[in-house]
C-alpha cells in the first residue's frame, strides 16, 4: 500500500526535526504536529478502508479535489487516532457540500469556524466528549478531529490566515470545535435523528459557526423561565443578514429543568423563534439597519432565523451548573447551510 501514496516526500533526521520542518513549510496551525510518515498515513487510510486516490470531496470554489491521502496526512498531523478517520472524512464531505458553500465560511472576514456535532454510536466508541468542559480541553477526539478538518482547509483548500482566510478576529473554535450530543442522558431525540438518520447510525452535523455564548439562569425552575433568559440573550446576537441557524446547547441542569416541564425540542425551538424577534425600530435605533425609524417599525419584527427548524437543540455539557449556551451560525442562509453526513465504516 505505501507505494500507492503519491504525495511528495521530504526527509528529516528524526521526529523532532520533522516537526520543525512542518512549521518551516507553513503546514501547521501554530501548534506542533505529528510528523506524517507513510506508515502513520497508511494506518489512517486502512482504518477508514479508503484508497489514497479516492476523492472525498471536490471543493468547486477552490477547484480542488480533496483525496483520502491528503485527508489522512492532515489527520495524522492533527494527532488523530486511526479510528477517528471516518469522522474526519464525514466532516470533509460536509465542507465540500455545495449547500455548505465553502468559499464563505472558509474565507469570510466574519471568521467562521467549523462546528461538528457528532451523533450516534461512534461518539461513545471514540469517547467524543458530550459532558463537562464541552468546548474545553481534555479529550483527544474532540481536539484532534476538528484540528484535522482545519488543517485540510489550510493545506488542501488554501484557507491560510492572511491570504484566503481573512477572518478579522477568528475565534478559538477555528482550532477545533467538536462536540457530541449527550444521547445517554438526553430526554429528547438526538439531532441526527431529527435530521433524517436512524438512532443506530452515526452522523456528523457540520455548521459554519461563530463562537459559543454562555448564559446563566440559576433562578428559575421552569422551562419557560430558563428559556426566557436564553431568548433575551440570543435576541441581541443576530446580525442583519440573518443567521442561517442557531445551535442551542442545553447542559445538564437546564436540560433536566426544561424536560421536567414536559417540553420537547420542537416546543423549545418554537418558543425561542417567537421570543427572539427584533423590531425594526430597535434595529434602526441601534444602527444595525439603515434608515429613520418609522411609526410602523415599532411593531414590524424580524426573526433571528427563517424558521423554528433553523434552531438546532442539542443536549450536551456538564451535569452541574446552571449554564447553557447558544452558537450563532455564520452568515446567512443563502451563504451557508448546515449539512449532516453519515459516518461510513
Amino acid at each position: 500500500m505505501p507505494a500507492t501514496l503519491t504525495s511528495k516526500r521530504l526527509r528529516a533526521a528524526d521526529d523532532a526535526e520533522a516537526i520543525e520542518l512542518c512549521f518551516a513549510r507553513g503546514w501547521t496551525d501554530g501548534l506542533p504536529v505529528v510528523p506524517p510518515t507513510p506508515e502513520r498515513v497508511v494506518r489512517m487510510l486502512e482504518a477508514a478502508q479508503l484508497q489514497p486516490s479516492h476523492e472525498i470531496t471536490y471543493v468547486a470554489h477552490r477547484a480542488v479535489s480533496v483525496t483520502a491521502e491528503k485527508v489522512a496526512i492532515n489527520a495524522v498531523m492533527a494527532g488523530c487516532r486511526p479510528e477517528y478517520m471516518p469522522v474526519v472524512v464525514a466532516a470533509i464531505e460536509g465542507i465540500g457540500d455545495p449547500r455548505w458553500s465553502y468559499h464563505g465560511p472558509g474565507t469570510s472576514t466574519a471568521g467562521a469556524a467549523v462546528l461538528l456535532i457528532v451523533n450516534g454510536p461512534i461518539a461513545r466508541e471514540l469517547d467524543i466528549n458530550s459532558g463537562d468542559n464541552l468546548f474545553g480541553p481534555g479529550w483527544r477526539a474532540n481536539l484532534t478531529i476538528g484540528r484535522a478538518v482545519r488543517l485540510v482547509m489550510r493545506n488542501v483548500c488554501g484557507s491560510i490566515p492572511g491570504t484566503l482566510d481573512r477572518g478579522t478576529l477568528g475565534h478559538p473554535g477555528k482550532l477545533s470545535f467538536v462536540i457530541a450530543e449527550n444521547e445517554a442522558e438526553s430526554p429528547w431525540p438526538p439531532l441526527h435523528v431529527e435530521r433524517g438518520f436512524r438512532p443506530d447510525q452515526s452522523a456528523v452535523t457540520i455548521v459554519a459557526a461563530a463562537g459559543p455564548r454562555q448564559f446563566y439562569n440559576q433562578l428559575s425552575n421552569t422551562a419557560e423561565g430558563v428559556l426566557t433568559t436564553l431568548a433575551d440573550d440570543m435576541r441581541a446576537s443576530g446580525n442583519l443578514m440573518g443567521q442561517p441557524h442557531f445551535v442551542v446547547v442545553l447542559a445538564g441542569e437546564h436540560m433536566r429543568t426544561i424536560a421536567g416541564d414536559g417540553w420537547t425540542k420542537a416546543m423549545i425551538r418554537e418558543f425561542l423563534y417567537e421570543r427572539t424577534k427584533n423590531s425594526y425600530a430597535h434595529l434602526r435605533r441601534t444602527q444595525q439597519m439603515a434608515g429613520a425609524v418609522q411609526p410602523e417599525d415599532e411593531t414590524r419584527v424580524r426573526p433571528l432565523v427563517e424558521s423554528p427548524d433553523d434552531i438546532f437543540v442539542v443536549a450536551a455539557g456538564g451535569r452541574a451548573g446552571a449554564f447553557s449556551c447558544y452558537i450563532p451560525g455564520w452568515g446567512g442562509k443563502r451563504s451557508s447551510q448546515a449539512v449532516t453526513k453519515e459516518v461510513k465504516r
Binding site: 504525495s7 526527509r11 510528523p35 510518515t37
Partner: protein, 93 residues
C-alpha cells in the same frame, strides 16, 4: 532518517485565457456584477456611468450575484458573455 508526506496539494497547471483588453471603450457594452453588499450596486453603477459619460461606452448594465459568498451563477455569466464586451466586478465590504 525519516520520511514525511507533503500535506498540501501539488499545483497542477491550468491554462486560463484572457480576452485581449480593448484599446478604447468607445461603443463598448459594459457589464457590471455586484455582490449584494450594501452600496455595492451604487458604487458599480457610478463607475458604469463614468465609463459611458467620459469614455464613450455604449451602455452599462448591472447584474446581481446571488450573494457575496458564492461565485457568479452560470445564468448571469452566460448573459454577460452574450451581451457585453467589457465587464467590471468588485467586492464591496
Amino acid at each position: 532518517m525519516i520520511e514525511i508526506l507533503d500535506p498540501t496539494v501539488e499545483t497542477t497547471t491550468q491554462p486560463i485565457k484572457f480576452v485581449a483588453r480593448p484599446g478604447s471603450l468607445a461603443g463598448k457594452r459594459i457589464g457590471l456584477v455586484e455582490n449584494t453588499k450594501f452600496n455595492s450596486d451604487r458604487l458599480l453603477q457610478k463607475i458604469g456611468d463614468i465609463l459611458v459619460a467620459e469614455h464613450g461606452a455604449a451602455d452599462a448594465r448591472l447584474w446581481r450575484k446571488h450573494n457575496a459568498s458564492v461565485p457568479a451563477h452560470d445564468e448571469i455569466v452566460q448573459e454577460i458573455k452574450a451581451t457585453c464586451d467589457v465587464m467590471v466586478a468588485g467586492i464591496g465590504d
